[in-house]
């Protein structure tokens, strides 16, 4: 990998110029969020195969780029997700059970079964709702940042997207508006090398994605997306600049989608397992563990306890969520408008009056 910012070295030591100087608690918390994301992914893919949830999109390999960026933001900042960032919602305080209810589309699903799994939302944590089309969230993040600026508030907004999204018109519009209006937006591109089956080399002829920022009049920075401290450092600096009214930043986190695009995808149709193996050697979790061990904060015992604890936590959440019934039929008609208009009430009443089979 060329010219990408790194903090954690191969031996677990850190680059002293860039090290964010975490306390043990901070470092362990970061590792815990990444581990939770990893274990959750494996469990959810299994649940999907058993038919207990309808769909899942894993983050395997991208934990550092998701958790590292989310943890770099302050609580009053906003996070605008793409769809591969449940880890960021959890960092923002979304209860695991609530996330599970979303995946199951049950009566306690925060979106009332209105969306397929993985379309999380968590208003309390300033974590925006997710749509499936790629890149559409980018202008929203610019508008949110613009709003912060108009209100005179020193906050920033972090928006996640992938390499595929950089080809969309919305990416261009968002980057252009952000540059012109100097919005406090941190563009966090998870360059995971693949947009379903299309490699980044077929997505763009640009040497890097980070350099696209130059054309819009602001900085782009390329970081090792398998290094959580590097992602944290770059995002934290970008967010600080945003709050200081120095404008937006594009952070390209160079990472890898180790798993399928989703539970409906079979990557063996289009990519070589040899490539996956190369990236597995850079897996962000063992990498971070090495850093913890180098600092004297981690050992086999703690690792085993953490895995057990997270596993139990997920098991409990799954058990609780699976006991919850499906949403009531009336919820189909809820939240279309702030107030249900007469034609919709007519449709609902007419349907509810039909004999139930």
């Amino acid at each position: 990998m060329v010219d990408a910012l790194r903090v954690i070295r191969d031996d677990g030591s850190t680059d002293p110029r860039l090290d964010p100087k975490f306390s043990e608690d901070q470092a362990v918390a970061m590792y815990r969020w990444m581990s939770l994301q990893r274990i959750l992914d494996n469990r959810m893919l299994a649940l999907q195969r058993q038919g207990r949830i309808g769909f899942y999109g894993p983050s395997l390999g991208q934990e550092a780029a998701i958790v590292g960026a989310a943890m770099a933001m302050d609580p009053e900042d906003w996070i605008v997700p793409q769809y591969r960032e449940p880890g960021a919602a959890l960092v923002r305080g979304m209860p695991l059970k609530e996330l599970l209810c979303q995946l199951m589309g049950n009566a306690e699903d925060p979106v009332k079964g209105h969306q397929m799994p993985c379309h999380y939302v968590y208003r309390k944590g300033n974590y925006l709702s997710i749509s499936s089309p790629v890149g559409t969230q980018l202008p929203h993040a610019v508008g949110i940042g613009w709003g912060m600026k108009l209100r005179g508030e020193k906050k920033a907004v972090l928006v996640f997207f992938g390499d595929g999204a950089t080809s969309t018109g919305d990416f261009h519009a968002a980057m252009n508006f952000a540059g012109v209006f100097k919005t406090p937006t941190v563009f966090l591109c998870n360059n995971n090398q693949w947009a379903i089956s299309v490699p980044v080399s077929k997505q763009t002829a640009s040497g890097t994605l980070a350099e696209k920022a130059n054309a819009y009049g602001f900085d782009g920075i390329r970081v090792d997306g398998m290094d959580a401290l590097a992602v944290y450092r770059a995002t934290r600096d970008a967010a600080r600049n945003a709050r200081e009214r120095l404008g937006p930043t594009l952070v390209e986190a160079v990472t890898y989608r180790m798993g399928p695009h989703s539970s409906s995808d079979d990557p063996s149709r289009y990519r070589d397992e040899g490539e996956v193996a190369v990236w597995q050697a850079r897996d962000p979790l063992p990498r971070f563990r090495k850093y913890l061990e180098h600092a004297g904060w981690w050992d086999e015992g703690r690792e085993a306890r953490l895995e057990q604890e997270i596993g139990d936590e997920i098991t409990r959440a799954v058990q609780e969520a699976e006991r919850i019934p499906p949403p009531a039929i009336e919820t189909i008609f809820a939240d279309v408008y702030a107030e249900m208009p007469p034609h919709l009430r007519q449709e609902m009443d007419a349907f509810l009056a039909l004999p139930r089979r």
Partner: protein, 323 residues
């Protein structure tokens, strides 16, 4: 009370609402220094230099960033210069703004009013004349509003800006400067979702919106000379529709002519026809007749032939009266 054109009334509504509510933001192409190509935003930049923005030329960016502002709690009023230019922002309108409340289970909403001039009658050719409200009326989560007089343009725009949901506010540009009306200074609101009976009559209901409401009034005047009393219903809000007003008129007259300038097939008036067929067929004394634009792109030279006029509406009235 000053007499205003619709352009002046819209300008007045924006100005007053911006004074009342500092969350109201105006953005779009040429809306700042130039005051908009139709001058609807003239002078707003001078009074609100921090809340009026000339944006880059990108409708998807205008709508998409306005959605972001609305999510953050502002009340953006983006302008799309012509409805014919709205499609780069179509995805943002129908897939993002309109779905936000539903897809977030009510956690987020988009209180945004998109203003855009629509319809024919200004020699604008294909790309400055279309009337494509049907695309948007087919989108749950969006409201669609069409004024037909200056005073109501002020009232409906004020209500739209205050509405908690996204509103597409379609301004019939043929009526922008065609007449003046007394428009009160200060707060004027017209509730969304209520049609207006523009003229009462017992023989036939003419149902229309925007410029076509004016055409129907002209047709009703001519019909009266022949002894036919036409009632003119101006829908004002297409979504949500004021169904009771439409139904009670048609139940009274027993005859319906639906007029819209868009292409006939799948037009919004087709929905009106369907509702009448479903809910008032036992009251009908003749077929429901539509008077519409043709199923062609909008022509330039023969624009006046394309657009429904009072004579075509009269011919339809004759047809249903003779049935």
């Amino acid at each position: 009370m000053p007499a205003m054109t619709m352009v002046q009334a819209i300008n007045n509504a924006l100005r007053e609402e911006m004074r009342r509510d500092d969350r109201v933001i105006v953005l779009g192409e040429d809306v700042g220094r130039n005051g908009g190509v139709f001058r609807c935003t003239e002078g707003l930049l001078d009074e609100f230099p921090d809340r009026v923005f000339d944006t880059p030329l990108a409708e998807g960016g205008i709508i998409g960033t306005a959605i972001g502002m609305a999510l953050y709690g502002l009340r953006p009023v983006p302008e799309i210069q012509f409805m014919d230019f709205i499609y780069p922002g179509f995805d943002q309108i129908v897939s993002e703004a309109a779905k936000m409340r539903y897809r977030s289970g009510g956690q987020f909403s988009v209180p945004m009013t998109i203003r855009t001039p629509f319809g024919g009658g200004i020699r604008g050719g294909h790309y400055h004349s279309q009337s494509t409200e049907a695309y948007f009326c087919h989108t749950p989560g969006l409201k669609v509003v069409v004024p037909s007089t200056p005073k109501e343009a002020k009232g409906l725009l004020t209500s739209s800006i205050r509405d908690p949901d996204p509103v597409l506010f379609l301004e019939p540009k043929k009526l922008y400067r065609s007449s003046r009306e007394e428009v009160p200074e200060g707060e004027v609101t017209v509730p969304l979702g209520q049609a207006a009976v523009r003229r009462s009559g017992k023989d036939v209901s003419l149902i229309a919106y925007g410029y076509m409401a004016q055409v129907c009034l002209d047709a009703a005047t001519k019909a009266a000379e022949k002894g036919v009393e036409a009632e003119v219903i101006d829908l004002r809000t297409l979504v949500p529709l004021d169904e009771p007003t439409v139904l009670s008129s048609v139940k009274k007259t027993g005859r319906a002519v639906v007029v819209y300038e868009a292409p006939r097939t799948g037009g919004y008036g087709a929905e009106i026809s369907a509702i009448l067929a479903e809910k008032a067929i036992e009251y009908l004394r003749g077929p429901i007749v539509r008077v519409t634009g043709f199923d062609t792109p909008f022509p330039y030279t023969l624009e006046d032939v394309y657009l429904p006029n009072a004579d075509r509406v009269l011919a339809a009235i004759d047809k249903v009266m003779a049935f």
